[in-house]
């Protein structure tokens, strides 16, 4: 910026600039030459610069004048919208659905319009008030020239030599050996994020004599109460109705059938599309609600076809035939929960599911 030939930016350097009359004795001179304005020589300084690349004024002054008014109007509108936003925040309470609707509308609308008018204003400014210009900048090949590459090669090799990294394999190898466990250590640290799975996934909380509660009402069920054929209700184990971990595995569904609809088979035919006969009570059959695909609740039941459908990925199970898979990505039937009744006549589990419920996992076997 200076054409005095004096190196810039150094403190207390002598300058050619005339001392200011207001200068206090003992303080350095104002050193005007070091401001970005140049040394005050004016035109002589500017003459050295490249010619102006950007025109100072728009090509169409009338249009620019019109645009200026519009932009100013938009900016004022934005200002008003922002004030409106603050007013809406202060003035409109929330705390009920209707109040939230009003507040959301006022806040969002004022905010959106404030931003929108700023944006539109700025675009009009660029397009109609700033002079139109197109400049060209040269590209240079990204690869360094061979001199620089050679110099870098030398620097790199000198550094490698000086470090002795290449010459002393003992140091190199022990360093590498030292860093490997260092990289493994953070992974080891993650071990306590959870317990080991053990056989957790093989069991649910169902145990002999545990009552089935209707999900939602949490009341035990008698076969007589659940008498209308065709219905399906979700059941949860008594005492665990508010325990998400237990419910994630133990939630089940019971379906009542007309006599003769269920297709019975031996327990050994568990995969073969049969209902195990002595696990049902009065044509009521109980299946796990956890889909064997990826664990969504298989919650939809079509009475006319007796199909159980998982709404997530549409695995379809045939309810009268041991919930065998009819369609979709689920690989196995929904496991059947053995049912019986207790002394009070309520539906209870005979025992836990015979196989793991839910999605496949490596140790499932």
């Amino acid at each position: 910026m200076s054409d005095t030939g004096v190196p810039e930016g150094l403190p207390d350097e002598p300058t050619d600039a005339p001392a200011s009359p207001q200068r206090v004795i003992g303080t350095p001179s104002p050193a005007q030459a070091r401001t970005l304005l140049g040394d005050g020589a004016g035109d002589g300084d500017r003459a050295q610069l490249a010619p102006r690349e950007l025109p100072a004024d728009p090509g169409n002054p009338q249009r620019a004048k019109r645009a200026e008014r519009i932009v100013a109007g938009l900016f004022i509108f934005s200002l008003l919208a922002s004030i409106g936003f603050i007013a809406a925040y202060v003035g409109l309470e929330v705390g009920s659905v209707d109040a939230v609707l009003r507040s959301n509308l006022a806040l969002g609308l004022s905010m959106g319009l404030a931003f929108l008018s700023l944006a539109v204003g700025a675009v009009i400014w660029v397009r109609y008030i700033m002079p139109d210009v197109e400049l060209t900048e040269q590209r240079h090949p990204l690869a360094s020239d061979s001199a620089d590459r050679k110099a870098f090669k030398q620097t790199f090799e000198e550094g490698a030599d000086a470090s002795q990294f290449t010459k002393r394999p003992l140091l190199r190898r022990t360093l590498i050996a030292a860093t490997v466990p260092l990289a493994v250590a953070p992974i080891v640290l993650l071990r306590d994020m959870g317990p080991l799975p053990g056989t957790t996934l093989r069991h649910t909380v169902w145990r002999p004599g545990l009552r089935l509660l209707a999900y939602g009402s949490n009341r035990p069920i008698t076969p007589a109460e659940f008498s209308s054929p065709g219905g399906m209700i979700t059941v949860v184990p008594d005492g665990y109705q508010d325990n998400p971990d237990a419910l994630a595995a133990a939630t089940a569904i019971i379906i009542k059938f007309q006599p003769g609809v269920l297709v019975f088979g031996k327990p050994s035919q568990i995969q073969g599309g049969y209902v195990t006969p002595n696990w049902t009570v009065d044509n009521i059959v109980c299946y796990s609600k956890i889909c064997t695909h990826v664990g969504c609740p298989a919650a939809l039941y079509e009475q006319t076809t007796h199909h159980i459908l998982c709404p997530c990925h549409q695995s379809t199970f045939d309810a009268p035939r041991g919930a065998q898979v009819l369609f979709g990505p689920a690989p196995r039937p929904l496991p059947q929960l053995p049912l019986t009744t207790d002394a009070q006549g309520f539906l209870v589990a005979l025992k836990d599911f015979q196989e793991p419920v839910g999605p496949s996992f490596w140790e499932r076997g």
């Binding site: 939230v100 931003f115 996934l201 664990g295 709404p311």
Partner: protein, 568 residues
């Protein structure tokens, strides 16, 4: 002193005394930004990210990432007295008891959707215009990593409120993790802190969502922008635009004003969407319970692809040696997305290997001028679209009143057929558009003026293309190649083109560079063969054939279909 002089004298000098910035900032202020509307797509992604940081910070002031059970007593009366996690209760609180809370939640969610959508559109633009080519391969890879992380960040984010819909999403995540052989069960128990759902998953996802992933994003975005800045922008073909320059408007004041305006446009759009378009109304879904689900569950749009793959894949499972391999989950969860992402990551290098083109490219291709690449891109889009639609097949079946199972059966075939159809149709369209360009070149632009000749004949007048129009068409000489046999007779193949791999490479090169041939005078060769341009402005076609490479390293002779020094 004028305003600028005051600023320069005061702040400017103060800063320059300390940072030595005059020269660097001069260059920065005069940095040229080429203009094209598609260059805005990446900016939308950037600005939605900033909006996400701003609104996310606001939300984190009120959100409780805790799965401790509480009983709700708040402004949303239908859920009064219901037991739920603190996370869900605090989200209700943000929505109904914090002023501007619902707006910020909705803006945050819309901005997240816009973020991923903008990334997708931006990546498609980069692919279709060939902007990933040397020297920009690293930025392409960073982009793919960010796209992957954006999917994760979105999934984790919308899981945080612990509502019935997002909890079901986490349940699916559990099922997918469980399907991983050998370590899956352990990974699941470590992530969830025990069996699903446990009490740890929400706080863990929270810290990943608000700290870890945004931190990685900031680092990658910085690298992405710095590399873009350092290598300078690509530009679309046009008059005066070459491989060795950048034509456009300078940063200061033009680009600064435009990009500032664009930030406000983006913010205005998501703010108005957050005002008028309800998104993720978690109070309607209810708190999560493993026993419940709502029909028609749909994830955010960007997860629809994975949802579709899970729905469409058949139920193959192995039970061998006492272990279960859940191919029915493992393959759909990993393979289709893996194919797209890995393929995208390797594509720039595959293309370089096939064509042998290792030159720098700074002028973008028009998609029609790279028909095979465009066709491959559209095939991937079709592949994605089939899975994406299948992810909503229940909604489609419901609205179109067709069988649910039929939609899945169709998708199982369409996954293979649709990409093939998209490939061929796109390629034909591109070649057709090339012929249209060639027609303009040869016959000029129809003016709509009808003239009667002295002989009585009526003709429509045409005018030749202006230089500007010609440059924008980006029609460069693309001589036709002789058939492989004829070519083999002409020359000795270079070493890398011999052998089986070399022949495969040559064939791939022929497919990849197929275009309507045009000679240096702008005349079509007809419809035979395909072509590379070698930039020779003269010479007959035969001489050019002899000079053409056989697909070997084209850097050596500086030829190729996009030679920097095209016809002036």
């Amino acid at each position: 002193m004028t305003l600028t002089e005051k600023l320069l004298d005061g702040t400017g000098s103060w800063l320059d005394d300390r940072f030595h910035g005059a020269k660097g900032f001069r260059t920065l202020f005069r940095k040229i930004f080429p203009d094209h509307w598609t260059f805005l797509l990446g900016e939308i992604a950037l600005y939605s990210f900033i909006i996400l940081l701003l609104t996310g910070t606001f939300l984190s002031l009120f959100f409780q990432p805790s799965m401790t059970e509480v009983t709700y007593h708040g402004a949303y009366t239908p859920l009064n007295g219901v037991r739920m996690s603190e996370a869900y209760a605090s989200t209700l609180n943000i929505s109904f008891d914090v002023r501007g809370g619902l707006l910020m939640r909705q803006i945050h969610h819309w901005a997240a959707d816009l973020f991923v959508a903008a990334i997708m559109a931006h990546m498609l633009r980069i692919f279709f215009t060939g902007a990933y080519r040397k020297p920009r391969e690293v930025n392409w890879l960073i982009g793919i990593v960010m796209f992957t992380l954006a999917l994760l960040e979105g999934l984790f984010g919308y899981s945080l409120p612990d509502d019935l819909l997002s909890g079901t999403g986490l349940r699916i995540l559990e099922g997918v993790l469980l399907s991983i052989p050998i370590v899956g069960t352990y990974l699941t128990f470590f992530l969830f802190g025990g069996p699903f759902p446990g009490n740890d998953i929400i706080p863990r996802l929270y810290i990943i969502h608000v700290l870890l992933l945004p931190g990685i994003f900031l680092a990658l975005i910085t690298a992405h922008l710095f590399i873009m800045f350092w290598q300078k922008h690509t530009q679309m073909p046009g008059e005066g635009r070459t491989n060795t320059n950048v034509v456009g408007q300078p940063t200061y004041p033009y680009f600064m004003a435009k990009t500032g305006a664009f930030f406000f446009f983006t913010f205005a759009c998501v703010a108005l969407a957050g005002t008028f378009a309800q998104i993720n109304p978690i109070w309607l879904y209810g708190p999560y319970t493993p026993a419940g689900i709502s029909a028609g569950s749909q994830p955010d749009f960007y997860m629809g692809f994975l949802e579709g793959t899970l729905r469409v894949f058949p139920n193959w499972t192995w039970d061998i040696f006492g272990h279960t391999v859940a191919w029915n989950v493992l393959i759909p969860a990993l393979v289709p997305l893996g194919l797209v992402f890995t393929g995208a990551a390797f594509w720039p290098f595959i293309e370089q290997w096939i064509t042998g083109d290792r030159r720098e490219h700074h002028v973008n291709d028009r998609p029609r001028n790279a028909p095979t690449r465009t066709a491959i891109g559209m095939a991937v889009v079709a592949f994605w679209a089939v899975f994406w639609l299948e992810g909503a097949n229940d909604v489609i079946a419901d609205h179109l009143d067709i069988s649910l199972y039929l939609t899945t059966e169709i998708a199982r075939y369409a996954v293979f057929i649709a990409p093939a159809v998209a490939y061929f149709v796109t390629k034909r369209i591109c070649l057709g558009l090339q012929r249209k360009d060639l027609h303009l070149l040869q016959h000029g632009v129809e003016t709509g003026i009808i003239r009667q000749l002295p002989s009585g004949e009526y003709i429509e007048e045409t005018r030749p293309l202006t230089d500007e129009e010609l440059a924008a068409l980006d029609v460069k000489p693309r001589p036709s190649l002789p058939a492989p046999a004829a070519q083999a007779a002409l020359e000795v193949p270079p070493p890398q083109m011999r052998g089986g791999l070399g022949r495969v490479r040559e064939q791939l090169d022929r497919v990849l560079t197929e275009s309507v041939p045009i000679d240096a005078h702008g005349d079509g060769y007809g419809a035979h063969g395909n072509g590379h341009g070698n930039g020779h402005p003269d010479g007959d076609a035969e001489a050019e054939h002899a000079a053409l490479p056989t697909g070997g390293d084209q850097q050596a002779d500086g030829s190729g279909d996009d030679a920097g020094g095209g016809p002036a």
